[in-house]
Amino acid sequence: MVDQQRPPAMPAPAYDPAAEAGWAEAPPRMGFFTDTSVCIGCKACEVACKEWNGVPTSGLDLLGMSYDNTGALTANSWRHVAFVEQPRPAGHRTPPFAGTPTGDPVSAASAARAAGTTNPTGTDPGLPPGDPPAAARMTEFLGMPAAGPPGRTGSADGRSEFRWLMMSDVCKHCTRAGCLDVCPTGALFRTEFGTVVVQEDICNGCGYCVSACPYGVIDRRADDGRVWKCTLCYDRIGAGLTPACAQACPTESIQYGPLDELRERAAARVATLHERGVPEARLYGHDPDDGVGGDGAFFLLLDEPEVYGLPPDPQVTTHDLPRMWRRAGLAALAMAAGAAAAFLGGRR
């Protein structure tokens, strides 16, 4: 949940999901903080994750989504580095292309074509089909759909603004995890570290979690039947090691550690960036009061979440479950009453 207005209030006494899930004297809750302002899009995280967890191939297809040929978080890619080329200002930096002759922006058009790569792209399972018209609007400046984005005057005197956003996406390990709540077999469980892990020896592939995840992370692997996602290297952190992606990340864009510490560090980093003239830096998923109770893996973004494919205000579905049961109860009563009336009513 993007939250800028409210000063980063002192975090309320953290609701500790591990303790809540029955872990006596659980260790401090561990998580990821991904600072996308220092990400260089090298994809070491994607490779390190696959090497450690033996994740099978996610397909050999040029997707045309800038340098992203993985496409999305799927059962075969538990880390996904997103690339967004935008003709928009990049914090305090001088416009890269000021004064060079230019024509229309291409980001929208190339995005629409890239969205068209929906035929089975080999990243089976799960690369969701794209919607070309939606993609065509990829870099429209929010609120000014008609006019071209700033700087891209389209006239001969020059384009100016440009920036290239990169972000390593991963499972959010939500405090209130939809996938965990709805799992009917207990395959998904809350570990003592407060992370959410699929137990491959239990999962029977019912697929309920896939629909319950508000971020579209967890996914069923076609030829295997079970669902797979990031385990925050449950085996490594159990042995006191650092998750493979966090250790490999060359610029420490991915930071692993106790969640409280990470939240403080993140708040300080945002403040530093604002001082240094990068006002668009904002945290995402850090706020314990958001719709999923805050994420175990949260981010520092440089644009609206949906530009990266993230939901702007995710809400764990079980938030409304009590009301749902009440409505179902009413319906059940209505049903029983209807049946009873049917029999008691008429004579014959």
Partner: protein, 884 residues
């Protein structure tokens, strides 16, 4: 790098090609440093840089010259540093004529040989005795840098004007040379708006001086040009003027591309060098041992090359052991001699002409990695035998069966006579040994597992091959076989495969006392009387005290930021060269913030965070006695201990073959006329007039518009060089699965390309196809009134492996830089057309059609000197009538 206050990355895409090294740029950025990236294309480095400067490929000297001009025009140089440590004050000969005054050609140009006679470049009064002379031999034997790294021949004292006012002092010559490189000229030549250029110049100068340092980072983006060495020279001049060399957070850092490419030039599998940068003897210049040694040490000059006789003798003792005696000049007679250019491209053309019988490929893939892929493959198709040692079945092993030329019918397997042996190689975890990384650091790798099946290390292959050759030649009376039979070749072996002991070889490289076998601890212990044997003198110390220093693994967290106890850096474990310059002439650190190495008067020795690059006990006040030579001749403030005059060279009287000062020349293939000089391209560039090697026409030649677009080539993070070690690895192949070309939206609309559609690119050598990525990251540039379109290609793809594609290097021809004979493969001109390329014979017809339309006559090369440019008679001061 982390201590830098400004970082300029040019001719390098560090975040993509050296990502883990890039953490130190991010560290500097976190501490407030400003990062500049200068590149024809907005890359992942530009994405996190503070400022990105688009530039026309091939015009780096115009930009850097502009910075030099900005510094000198505004007197922003670090004056004390420049006066004390550079040759700014030295007076140059009056015979010298600058290129500014001669249409872009310096004095001393000999049109017949296309090379310079350097007498007129020397310091005043040393025109005849400083060993200038003709440089044709140097160019042919890539020995240009021989002088530079050995210190150019320079005898006795030189005239200096400390006020820097003398019209012929280096400072004034530099000022006049770059006077025309104004911000307007930079915008006109590079297509870079003035205010962006001034932002760079301001930041670079403001962050230099006593309190602040800036570092300059480059890699093959600079070296692979016909003026590559001059790019680096200009960068060095800027860093010297601003006093950034030898200081923490300063310096000129080359980022090298392979795990041990630095090692493979220190202990060179190169034709022109012997280990420790001793030159391979030349048949005419080095007939005798003394001539060879004096050619290296240049009697009478200062600097550490003075001990060259000891290094040379010790090398010969290491090679031929007891057989090498003072009487037979330590078997100097056994060494083969150079007669001219034996570089890899000369060899490939000789292969095509059938002059070469056998070819070894040792972990290299020229069919994709070298320029002019077609020539590489045609050459290999005309050998007697080819031995390929690699981890995977690379393109250079299967060209005869699946190469592009098989498809076009130029190579018919049934008629291709090359006998090919493919021997599997051991990977880096299946053998032990040292890599030398880009900061000259040797790191020992422990062996994890045995190599699978028949895979073996090169150590195994060459040791046993040598043993077998010596067995077959045992008892041979022929003199030519003596060299092999007298070789010291008895290394201990171990393990099931009889693997030679790498540590024994490292001990020989380090050097030992022939009598006791004690490993030497420093190269100063080498003797010229045959009592020491040293495989590579600059590596002496790697086995100091009989301990493998390269295997030291003291954790970085337990050391200071120099981390001297991790691995071992040559020379003498020094991490920053010329660090004497981090202290002022009196030996005091320039500033507390940049304290690095300083003179400890109490202890009477140099000390600091690093091994001082100076004789430990020589005080700053020391002045050499009259007539002293070698190290003894170095004064207390001669920080550049390898140079013949102990000073850093803003002006290079010799050692660089294409001019004492960097001059902007257009690349060999350019769509533009040189806006600065009448001379279009580097007049001393090395060209091959072979039928297989046509060159695209450039102005003022006719038909240059047949290839109107500029293309450049570089790396992706996800792939590695020719792709042999990444297109065969699934997690990497997935990340960049297809060959693509990046074009700007303007070029796409101009030519009719669509995103994710196909395009094919044509040059005089070949036509290749690639998927199109239309991106805002490339932009056309307004250059001298014209709009120039640039496009970019990754060069990793070939026809083998999990993901395949056409090779970008097929487009390039073979034109080399004169100093080190590196090919120009960072810039070329081409045509681009929508759709896939033709196949089969139709492909050859398309290329042929382009050649005829471009008016290319097979077997000819463009004129080295642009017609109409006057070249004064060799050696005399030309009276060129003003600049062109």
């Amino acid at each position: 790098m982390a201590n830098a206050d400004v970082i300029v990355i040019q001719g390098s895409n560090m975040a993509e090609a050296h990502p883990v090294g890039f953490q130190w740029v991010m560290e500097a950025k976190r501490r407030g440093a400003k990062v500049f990236h200068v590149d024809p294309r907005f890359t992942r480095t530009s994405a996190v840089a503070d400022a990105y400067l688009p530039i026309r490929a091939g015009t780096d000297i115009a930009l850097l010259g502009g910075v030099v001009n900005y510094i000198l025009a505004n007197e922003l140089d670090f004056r004390e540093y420049v006066l004390a440590y550079t040759n700014a004050a030295t007076i140059v000969s009056d015979e010298f004529v600058d290129a500014e005054d001669a249409d872009g050609i310096f004095s001393g140009f000999d049109p017949e040989t296309g090379s310079y006679v350097q007498d007129s470049w020397q310091y005043a009064g040393h025109e005849r005795d400083s060993g200038g002379g003709e440089t044709l031999t140097e160019r042919e034997t890539a020995a240009g840098l021989g002088h530079e790294s050995h210190g150019a021949p320079l005898a006795g004292q030189v005239d200096r004007d400390e006020t820097l006012q003398h019209p012929r002092c280096v400072y004034q010559i530099l000022k006049r040379h770059f006077a025309r490189y104004t911000p307007e000229m930079v915008e006109r030549v590079c297509g870079l708006p003035q205010e962006k250029f001034l932002e760079l110049a301001r930041a670079w100068t403001e962050n230099s001086g006593r309190e602040r340092t800036g570092c300059l980072i480059y890699s093959v983006g600079w070296t692979q040009h016909t003026v590559g060495v001059q790019y680096i020279r200009t960068g060095a001049i800027i860093q010297l003027l601003l006093g950034n060399v030898g200081r923490p957070g300063g310096g000129v850092l080359a980022l090298r591309g392979h795990a041990s490419i630095q090692g493979s030039t220190d202990i060179p599998t190169l034709f022109n060098l012997l280990p420790g940068y001793l030159p391979m003897p030349h048949h005419a210049e080095h007939p005798s041992f003394d001539a060879w040694v004096n050619g290296i040490r240049h009697p009478g000059q200062k600097g550490f090359w003075g001990n060259a006789r000891a290094y040379a003798t010790s090398l010969l003792k290491a090679y031929w052991g007891d057989a090498a005696t003072p009487e037979n000049d330590f078997c100097y007679g056994y060494l083969p001699r150079l007669t001219g250019d034996h570089g890899t491209y000369r060899q490939v053309l000789d292969m095509i002409d059938g002059r070469i019988k056998g070819y070894f490929l040792l972990g290299q893939n020229p069919a994709v990695g070298s320029a002019h892929g077609r020539a590489q493959r045609l050459g290999m198709a005309n050998l007697d035998w080819l031995v390929v040692r690699d981890l995977f079945m690379i393109e250079s092993a299967t060209f005869w069966q699946r190469g592009p030329e098989v498809a076009t019918g130029e190579i018919v397997p049934e008629q291709c006579r090359t006998e090919v042996f493919f021997l599997p190689a051991a990977s880096h975890v299946e053998k032990e040994g040292t890599f030398t990384q880009t900061q000259r650091l040797l790191q020992w790798r422990e062996k994890a597992v045995d190599p699978p099946g028949d895979a073996r290390s090169e150590l195994w292959f060459f040791y046993h091959l040598g043993r077998r050759l010596r067995e077959k030649l045992a008892g041979s009376p022929l003199p030519r076989d003596r060299a092999l039979l007298d070789l010291t070749w008895d290394y201990p072996t171990h393990g099931p495969d009889a693997e030679p002991d790498a540590e024994a070889v490292l001990r020989e490289i380090n050097g030992y006392d022939t009598a006791t076998g004690r490993p030497l601890s420093a190269f100063t212990e080498a003797r010229d009387d045959g009592t020491t044997a040293v495989g590579c003198w600059i590596y002496t110390g790697v086995y100091a005290d009989g301990v493998n220093q390269a295997a030291r693994r003291r954790p970085g967290s337990e050391q200071d930021w120099v981390a001297a106890e991790w691995g071992w850096a040559w020379p003498a474990n020094r991490r920053t060269l010329y660090n004497r310059a981090s202290a002022d002439p009196q030996g005091r650190p320039w500033s507390e913030r940049k304290r690095y190495v300083w003179w400890d008067a109490a202890a009477g020795r140099w000390t600091g965070h690093d091994v001082p690059d100076f004789e430990l006990t020589k005080p700053p006040s020391y002045r050499p006695p009259e007539g002293a030579t070698g190290p003894a001749a170095l004064a207390g403030d001669d920080a550049f201990v390898m140079q013949a005059d102990g000073k850093a060279w803003l002006y290079a009287p010799s050692g660089v073959l294409d001019g004492p000062l960097p001059t902007h020349y257009e690349p060999a293939e350019s769509p533009m006329r040189n806006p600065l000089y009448a001379q279009q391209a580097n007049p001393t560039r090395k060209m091959y007039a072979h039928p297989v090697n046509p060159t695209n026409p450039s102005p003022p030649q006719e038909h240059s518009e047949v290839f109107p677009y500029v293309f450049t080539v570089s790396r992706l993070t996800e792939h590695h060089t020719a792709g042999g070690m990444s297109r065969t690895v699934r997690p990497l192949a997935e990340l960049q699965p297809e060959m693509f070309v990046e074009v700007s939206p303007e070029l796409a609309t101009l030519v009719g390309l669509t995103h994710l559609g196909w395009a094919h690119l044509v040059s005089a050598r070949a036509v290749i196809e690639a998927k199109v990525l239309v991106t805002d990251r490339l932009t056309p540039l307004r250059v001298d009134g014209r709009v120039i379109h640039q496009l970019w290609l990754p060069y990793h793809f070939g026809f083998e492996g999990l993901v395949t594609g056409d090779s970008a290097n097929d487009l390039f021809g073979i034109t080399l830089d004169p100093n080190v004979l590196i090919q120009e493969s960072k810039i070329g001109t081409c045509d681009v057309r929508p759709g896939r390329r033709p196949t089969g014979a139709a492909l050859r017809d398309l290329v042929e059609d382009y050649r005829t339309r471009a008016g290319i006559v097979p077997g000819t090369v463009p004129p080295a000197v642009t017609p109409g440019v006057p070249t004064g008679p060799a050696g005399s001061g030309g009276d060129g009538e003003g600049n062109g």
